[in-house]
Amino acid sequence: MKLVIIGKGGQGVIFFSRMIAQASAQKGLMVRSTEIKGMAKKGGAVEIHMKIGEGLSGVVKRGSADLVILLSEDFTDYAKIFGDKVFTFTSEEIEKALSSVPMRYVNTFLLGIFVKKTAIFSCDDFLKILDDENKKSFKKGYEYVQSSTRNSSERRN
């Protein structure tokens, strides 16, 4: 599987890649990645390519990513050159994360949302690698998707 994660410095691009790598390694899969950080540290572009269970290099060719995880809408056009399937968090999801858990666990809350919505990994894959506090936040995010999708489907009915 080929993944590309794009965002600004400080948005959790490196966190997401590390979590995905750990979860994959836990399953016995080879993980390779490559990281390009811009010159500027705060707010600069960060781009990570990942290959899970395939390839020799971490570089993902343009147009070949199975999924692009986009953390900043500033890079929407750029994200599309890697693949058609682009995953983003909605502003409601980000607000929910900010209001539900302390700042330092916001990323794990969002990770929970990501895992539930994409279904690439199972919930267990991550529960194995997270500590207790992060687990709680992760589960909250994971369960938020269930409840919110239920809510929206109810509304549709």
Binding site: A25, T34, A40, G43, S57, G58, K61, Y78
Partner: protein, 630 residues
Amino acid sequence: MSKLYLSGNEAIAYGLIHAGVRFISGYPGTPSSEIIPTAQKIIKDKEIKAYIDWAINEKVAFEVAYGASLANIKGAVTMKQVGLNVAMDPFMNSAYVGTVAGFVVISVDDPGPHSSQTEQDSRFMAMAAKIPVLDPSTVEEAFEFSKKVTQLSEKYGIPVMLRSTTRISHGKALVEIDDQIIKQELNTYFKTSKEWTKQLSRFAATPKQRLELHKILNGKIDKIAKENIPCLFFNGEILILSSGVVFSYLYELVEEYSLQDKVTLAKFDMPYPLSRDTLISLTLPQNTTLSVISRDSMSREISQNKEKILNINKTFSRIISIEETYPVIELQLNTEGRRNGIVPKEGELLPEVCEEILENLKLIKKRKIFNIPPLKRPSLCPGCAHRIALFAVKKVFGKKAIYAGDIGCYTLALNFNVTDIVLNMGASVSLGFAFSKAFELGEKSQDIVSIIGDSTFFHTGIPPLIDAVHYQVPFLLIILDNKTVAMTGNQKTPSTNKNFFGKTLKPIIIEDIVKSIGINFLEVIDPYDYEKSLTIIKEAKKFLKERKEPAVVIFRHLCINTQEGLKNNPKKLVKIIEELCKGCKFCINEFECPAIVFDEGTSKAMIDKTLCISCGCCAYICPTKAINPV
């Protein structure tokens, strides 16, 4: 054994320590900077006796680590590719003199370039110096090759280079690492060997003895070249030679497009030195089988494909070298490649570029081209003291002054017109000298300001300042002192008072150096004190006019990208008063703080609170006084 998710640089650090290297020096430079901190962490965690720390510049780093190897401690030096230029003198020389304990030169290239002045190829430099060079294709190989280069150096008594690139050094993979680190006997000696007289003729060789040393070096290189055999993959008529990460891209593409019976890939772990016989043995029809080298270092994916590694018994229709970034294999074996236009002469050979090469060779059909949209240019961090310091300089000296910049975060001041030229480390001071003298010769008056960071000043800024005082050349030198090597990830500078172990170091005071050279105008100021900054720069300008000699202003403020810097940074909330904002974009174009954004809807500037660190600096800059402290 543990499986660790390591970057190429981290893998190199583990490899060196596992190979018994106990003396590592270097100078930070993207993409090489993480090797030394990782090695420091390993020796701290595992309580290993070693010296691992930064040097003032690459030349010193090289000499220090190489010297340790001459005293029988295995040594290594780390740097980025342009750093090798600074270390070129001892680099060339060390090949002649040879080593006592193993000595490894790690030079990390930056094809692209992503964060460098040039795309130069360190393998090419190794070839110029007659130093063997290994070029890992994967992160795992970065670990394996770090051990291999040390062994090769020990075996032949010659410095060996490990060349990496951005994609390997900043790539990551799961690497299997032995938990046990073999205890290394540290048996230091120099001048105590029985054959000291003989040793003296190489350590302090006269030119006549140097000829002899050159002959010995050539002998070593010939021997190593003969043993240097590539590993072959697949079974096609077109032979493609490669090394480094480009091999990995090509391997992936051959599999993706099922070119296994059209292409044969030759992987050179060691792209220099190569023997002409290597190619003959690969090209001519022969009965002898080429031995399959044990590839325990290669990834599992390759080992599983071992059956595809074939013995050669036919001629190839074409032989092409595809390598980053200079024709090293191509020139040695005289193949096709860059010189006949098959391989682009510049730029990173990303998978997309390798694909284009295969397309031009009619091996694959036309692919879809993706145009890359322009990305926002990088800017100094919100709250960075360099911004307000250089804004004050611009305020006094105006846009007509010549601003000679240097290598560091502050190069980004070119975004708001306070940098007109950037050459290489330390050149801001020499260029200040040059422009001042040149305009004097041309009988034209011209204000000249040189801008340099603290670490860059230590690195190579001091010698040109000595010349400037000696020849009484008037220009203003701004030293931006944030007490760290910020751009490469906040490594220590000689002004630090503690090393990574917490051991006390003697801090070197920049103003003491400046004073001792004989600078007669020297001021040190925190640039957050904007009004005082303006006064001092005005005084400096007046001094230059009257005295016709160089002046120095040191702007000192901790880097806000460090924990200590951010914690101690003054907090001054600001707000933009909408009625006063005329939408002139002066703050956007002439100050360029990422935390000030322009709202196209209202045509007003706004503060992005997620980025703003409340430094309060922007309160000084608005022409209509719309930005105010809360």
